[in-house]
Structure formats: C-alpha cells, structure tokens
C-alpha cells in the first residue's frame, strides 16, 4: 500500500507532520501524523500501520545507524516522527485491538545518571512494537524486581556508562536471574563488551539498538 510506504519514508527521514520543514524532499507533504490518521480512516489496521509503516521506517534508519550511515540525531528525529504516528495508534493498544510484541523493562543501573543511550534504546524498541517501561536512571536492583513482580513475560535492558557502575550490573543481573532464570537480560553501554555481559550472567551485549531489535525478532 502506497500510503504505508510513504509513512515508512516519513519515519526514516523524521518527517513528523506537515508543518515540519524537514527533510527537504518532503517539505510541504503530509508527515507521519497525518499519514497515520489517513491510513486509519482508510480502514488499514493499526497492526499493518505499525508493522508495514512504522517498523519498516525505524528498521531502515536503524540499519543506517548500525552501518555508520546515520547518527544519533537522525535516530532521534525518526523516533519523534514515530511517536507522532503512535499517538494515533495509542487508543487501539489501550483497547487491545493492537498488540505489543512484548514488554521491556529498561533502566540505567545504580550509581549511574547517564540516560541518553537508554532513551535511544527505548525509542527504537517502541518503534519496533514493544511496550517499554522506563525505570529511569540510578535504578536499584529492588526496583527492577518490584517491577518484574508486576510485569509478566518481559525482557530487561540494563545500561551503564561508567566502569564503576557497570560492576553494579552484576548484582542486578544475578538477582533478576534468581527471581526468574528465564527472564532475558540484555546490557549495553560504552565500557561494556560481550565478554563482560556473559561473565556477569547477562544473556547478551548490544553495541547499538538496531542489533538488539534484529536479535530479538
């Protein structure tokens, strides 16, 4: 469907709405917000809009990002366009007509206040159809466990930017696995590595959000 292709292009280039004067080749055209409203009025299902429009666009920008052809600002404007579209889909998720792929609990570990990386992962995961519960920064193990108690079938994402705070991940991972060994725990952050992730008992390390979505899909 042509409209979904247009929508995915708006997400890829970060065209939130008609008024937004970016990117140059789409100036004056409908943006993600208008196209989503039109698609719904044409009877296209929220699920198709999500999968064939939003996720396709987010995947394209994610692929560019992971291959060094796009950078964090590109991802952020794409995510903004994705949120503009999601506003129209929200009622369908609330009513249960549209379903998330799953739920992710995400947070920056205790002692660390950095949140840009974590926020980017959150946006990309939401664009990929996941419900994300963001616990914020400086998140103690107890808060993860408290939320795991309230949330069924979820995955967990932990972030750290300091070599001191990445050590706090170990305790959080251990307690999560003790709580329920089958919960997948993924980690990310500049000083981390796959070797470190496995050493502390996490399931995997990802250097960028697109690799995460590719892996879990």
């Amino acid at each position: 469907m042509e409209i979904l292709e247009k929508l995915s292009e708006c997400i890829e280039y970060g065209k939130s709405n008609k008024e937004f004067k970016h990117p140059p080749h789409l100036v004056g055209s409908d943006g993600a917000s208008e196209l989503t409203a039109i698609a719904l009025s044409q009877g296209i299902s929220p699920d198709d809009i999500l999968k064939k429009g939003l996720m396709t666009g987010m995947n394209r920008i994610g692929e560019k990002f992971s291959t060094g052809k796009a950078f964090i600002p590109n991802l952020l404007i794409s995510a903004k366009a994705m949120y503009a579209a999601m506003e129209h889909l929200k009622p369908f998720f609330e009513s249960g007509e549209a379903k998330h792929k799953g739920t992710m609990l995400i947070g920056t570990v205790a002692g660390d206040l950095h949140d840009i990386g974590k926020n980017i992962v959150k946006m990309v995961m939401e664009g990929d159809g996941w419900k994300v519960i963001d616990l914020g920064v400086n998140v103690k193990t107890e808060l993860f466990l408290e939320n795991l108690n309230k949330t069924e079938n979820c995955i967990v994402g932990l972030s750290a930017l300091l070599t001191t705070t990445m050590l706090n991940m170990e305790e959080t991972v251990r307690e999560i696995k003790k709580f329920n060994e089958s919960i997948k725990v993924f980690v990310g952050g500049a000083p981390l590595s796959e070797e470190f992730a496995l050493k502390i008992g996490a399931d995997k390390y990802f250097a960028d959000p697109h690799s995460l979505t590719k892996y879990i899909n």
Binding site: I77, K80, G111, D112, I116, L162, T164, T165, A190, S193
Partner: protein, 237 residues
C-alpha cells in the same frame, strides 16, 4: 589542606575557546557525512544559547618532582598512589612536575541540558549535551595550550592530558585526583561511583618536564572500544 604550592583557576568564556559548529557536528558523528540541514540549523542556534548557560571553569594544582614517584605502572603524587597502568605510566616518563587538573561547564549547563530532555525534545537535549561535552574538552585544550606556553620558557614539554576511565585507568581513582585538589574545585563534586557533578566536567593529570614527550593516545592497545579519543585524531577544523 592539599600539598601543592601552585593552585590556579580560570573562568573562561565560550569566545576564548572558538568552538565551531563543525566541531559539534563532528561530536555527533558527522565527520565526513553532511548533517541534515535541520540539524545544522538547530546546532547553530543551540551553540548561541550555550554561551548563556555555560559557567566555564578550569584549574590545576601543580606537584613538583620531589612529590612524584613513578614506576612502570603507577604514579604517586604527594602520597596518593595511582594504578595508572603501563600505557599512562609511559606518558608520564620524565615528569618533573605533574599538573592535576579539572574543568567544568557548570551546574547551570547541566540544568539547561536536562530542561531540553524534560521538554521531551530528545534531539535538542542531545545537541545541548554534545555541546557541553565539546566545550569542556575545549576548556581542557585551552589549559594544555596554557601549560605548553608556561613551560616553554624553561624548555619543558607537556604530555597529553590523561584521565581516569581511559586507557585502562580505573575511574574510581578519580577520588584521589580530587583529594589532590582543593574542596569543591571548579564547583565539582564526586559521587560514590566517581561520577562528577556537574556532569559536564573533566579531571585528570598532565606531566611536564625536560624529558617528557607528547605521545599519541594508544587506542590500538586500549580495550575501550567506543572511546571518543579514537575519533580525536580526525581533522576537526
């Protein structure tokens, strides 16, 4: 009371640093690639606003030869022993003076960055955050140039600036760095995780001496894969 007899601090203006829009764009990843026009425009606007929000401070305490002991992987400064590792110890070879320094963009700058994120403008928050990182790096560049000029007269050379958290130097040792500086130096405080507040702050050491040589950062043997110093040698001007 710290043991250094020479402690200096300077208030800098953005105009002292000559930060270009290109430097900020490079800081966001756009080295060879052209950034979208919208991002270039937003960066230019935020660079102007940054000037009103920065309270730039840089300073140092100088420790002399008799206060320094160097081994193959450690350096002791006024009784505090740092396990800097072999890479950094190599940079410090020949030190007759060690300059312990810190720089900060100030608390107001942190609040300005947070206000952008809180307004749910992730892009603007990210641009402000990148500007913060670049201005505090530039303040340290300014300090390096200042020290080179200061020591030139006695024919001493300076090492690169070296900070805990890089080149296998444990970031936890930042606590010792601040023990060698006066309290609340440049308005910086450390938390238990050795995280500096304001966030846009840098601390470290620089060696100076007749036999000191400015070596390249040895990124090929460091395990910090995503470190910004790996990008540093790219031409920013």
């Amino acid at each position: 009371m710290i043991a250094s007899m020479n402690v200096q601090t300077y208030n800098l203006l953005m105009s002292d640093l000559g930060i270009t829009e290109k430097r900020i764009l490079c800081g966001m990843g756009y080295y060879d690639d052209v950034a979208p026009e919208y991002i270039i425009t937003a960066t230019a606007e935020f660079l102007k606003l940054a000037d009103k929000n920065a309270d730039l401070k840089v300073g140092f305490a100088e420790y002399s030869a008799e206060q320094i002991q160097l081994t193959r992987s450690t350096v002791s400064i006024s009784g505090y022993t740092f396990n800097v590792g072999k890479i950094i110890a190599n940079h410090l070879k020949g030190a007759e003076s060690i300059i312990v320094f810190a720089a900060s963009a100030g608390e107001k700058f942190d609040k300005w960055i947070a206000s952008q994120f809180n307004a749910n403008e992730q892009l603007y928050g990210y641009i402000a955050d990148t500007i913060g990182s670049e201005i505090v790096e530039s303040a340290c560049d300014w300090l390096e140039n200042f020290l080179v000029a200061k020591f030139e007269g006695i024919d001493w050379k300076c090492s690169n600036r070296l900070s805990p958290g890089y080149c296998n130097w444990n970031v936890e040792e930042q606590h010792k760095i601040f023990a060698l500086l006066p309290d609340n130096f440049c308005g910086i405080k450390l938390n238990e995780s050795a995280l500096m507040k304001p966030i846009k702050s840098i601390s470290g050491i620089i060696a100076a001496g007749r036999e000191v040589r400015k070596l390249d950062y040895q990124c090929n043997i460091c395990n910090l894969e995503h470190c910004y110093k790996r990008r540093k040698d790219k031409n920013l001007e």
